[in-house]
Subunit: 333 residues, 2 copies
């Protein structure tokens, strides 16, 4: 049905190998180039990637593994990654593991079985030795968003610690002394880093930390809602709260609204990630934004480099800077 390289060769009156060479960017006599190009056009020839892959041992496919497809932060990143990969003739197989550590391993192995040429993943489990299986087979892996200690691997993440530091510092500089923080799950890397920033800035300013103002949730709307209410019940309540991801920020805002708390008069609030939300909330929300596009593009680019066999500066860590967008949701005391 579809034209093959053989058809093109016949049509152009050259050998198969010459056509192959042309397709792969090799040098070909001018006269032949024209005839081959003409033949390709006339026959609407497309390389059969399967046959090619069989010979070259490459599938031109990248595996992507994230905790949940329902987390907009990750899916946005994927969107940007895909952009870059597509331009380089790679397609992506996206999997999520529903925050399930077992499934994480299963899906990783599924991707390996699919013979992807590279993998980009957001790891959850601390012990992901199976990554080394990929390296053994010469399949590069790039980690996103979270770092795993003891693993030699390229990583792209944001400077969570300083993101948190700067946000809380902003509150401190405005006179706040009792600052609540709504964190993610204790065992997740980003949680730990964001909490470290909170702690470090307190230390740097010689402020006492009240453990009751540190709450751990699940990075979902419900957590944000519940934990903000809990914070308000502490005595004395915090004068400011820092929420450390998008979904929890939505929840927190809902809680604030419900309780009829006046922002920023009664409570200063700094949220996370979603600019659109920040603009819509009144008064406009101050937020920490992560460079989503840059994360996606950087990860894709480094993976492409590794897949080309370029292991220069391996492993490299890209710690991208966040931005603190100041809105009207924080006030001076």
């Amino acid at each position: 049905m579809a034209a093959t390289i053989k058809d093109v060769a016949k049509y152009a009156g050259v050998s198969i190998s010459t056509v192959s060479k042309y397709i792969n960017g090799g040098r070909v006599r001018e006269k032949n180039r024209q005839r081959i190009e003409e033949a390709i056009k006339a026959l609407d020839f497309k390389v059969n990637e399967l046959a090619r892959g069989l010979k070259t041992n490459r599938t031109m496919t990248v595996g992507v593994l994230i905790p949940s497809l329902e987390n907009i932060f990750f899916t946005s990143i994927i969107s940007y990654m895909e952009n870059i990969l597509l331009k380089n003739r790679y397609s992506t197989i996206v999997c999520d593991y529903r925050n399930d550590v077992e499934l994480e391993k299963v899906k990783f192995e599924f991707l390996m079985d699919k013979m992807v040429d590279g993998i980009i993943m957001v790891p959850h489990e601390e012990d992901i030795q199976y990554i080394n299986k990929a390296f053994e087979k010469n399949i590069p892996v790039v980690l996103i968003d979270r770092m795993i200690k003891g693993i030699e691997c390229d990583v792209v993440l944001t400077d969570n610690l300083n993101a948190s530091y700067n946000a809380v510092e902003q509150l401190i500089m405005r006179g706040h002394r009792r600052i609540g923080i709504i964190c993610g799950p204790k065992n997740v890397y980003t949680t730990q880093e964001r909490l470290k920033g909170y702690i470090r800035v307190h230390e740097d300013y010689s402020l006492q930390i009240d453990d009751r103002l540190i709450k751990f949730g699940n990075y979902d709307v419900e957590s944000g809602y519940n934990l903000l209410l809990m914070l308000l019940e502490e005595v004395p309540p915090p004068s400011a709260v820092f929420v450390t991801n998008y979904e929890m920020t939505v929840g927190a805002v809902m809680a604030v609204n419900e309780k009829n708390i006046c922002i920023p008069h009664d409570l200063s609030l700094i949220g996370f990630d979603n600019i659109q939300l920040a603009k819509v909330v009144k008064p406009s929300l101050s937020i920490v934004t992560q460079p989503i596009q840059q994360i996606g593009e950087t990860a894709a680019t480094i993976l492409l480099k590794r897949m080309k066999g370029d292991y220069d500066k391996f492993p490299s860590v890209y710690r991208l800077k966040t931005q603190l967008l100041l809105g009207e949701s924080i006030c001076n005391i």
Copy 2:
């Protein structure tokens, strides 16, 4: 490096074709079955899908095309689809077209070039004749969420019209007469259907429709926010509002909270799609929920059937029922 069927054959002491037959579920003498199984285990043999695909002309890959990876409704569906497909040894290539009609076509053709065995897509453009190219090549396509008239194609969607009808009817039965509706973009199928339901129920109850209470947005948070504010400024304002997707519901709730409007006393509200959100909002939100899991699983199942060559009852339309979850956000007048 990796073991091939040849290695397995040698190890088991049978011919390649016997192994192949076994792998593909053919009958094999008991004695050989054992030896082959043993060999496969010992050598950790995995079928090379590329080689197989080259022979069988199948890639065991399904293409998925959605408007945006940042819309949680679509990504959730994908998550469930993938589940079913994975169990059937299919993997998925997910693409979005960023709500761009041009890109929609480009990505569709990209998927075709990748030689996917089937495509599941949420169409935007009205004129998608290029779908027929897929059918010509015997590649089944299943549409999701939106129907395109004039196209013979399996479709899985929700009964948008009656979803809307029932939601608004609920308001009417409670005495509301001025009911606002926040719709999506005018040219999108779901918008049209949901609006039809709104109109039909008004007709059935012989109620006048005030066009000023019908607002069109972009299915994003900002639209929901802005349009709700606009509705409140109509004179007289509506006593109830129906918001027709998740993101706009978030925006609407933000607006309501900002304006310090008391729900349901000052305004009754029915939202869309996200149960988690509905529970968090106080008073609890009434919402229309779509059967996300069922949509995903149905689409995957019908596609699997078509890919097997079973064109029974083609084209079939699955119009799934929504559910109206009543919360405390609506009151009687």
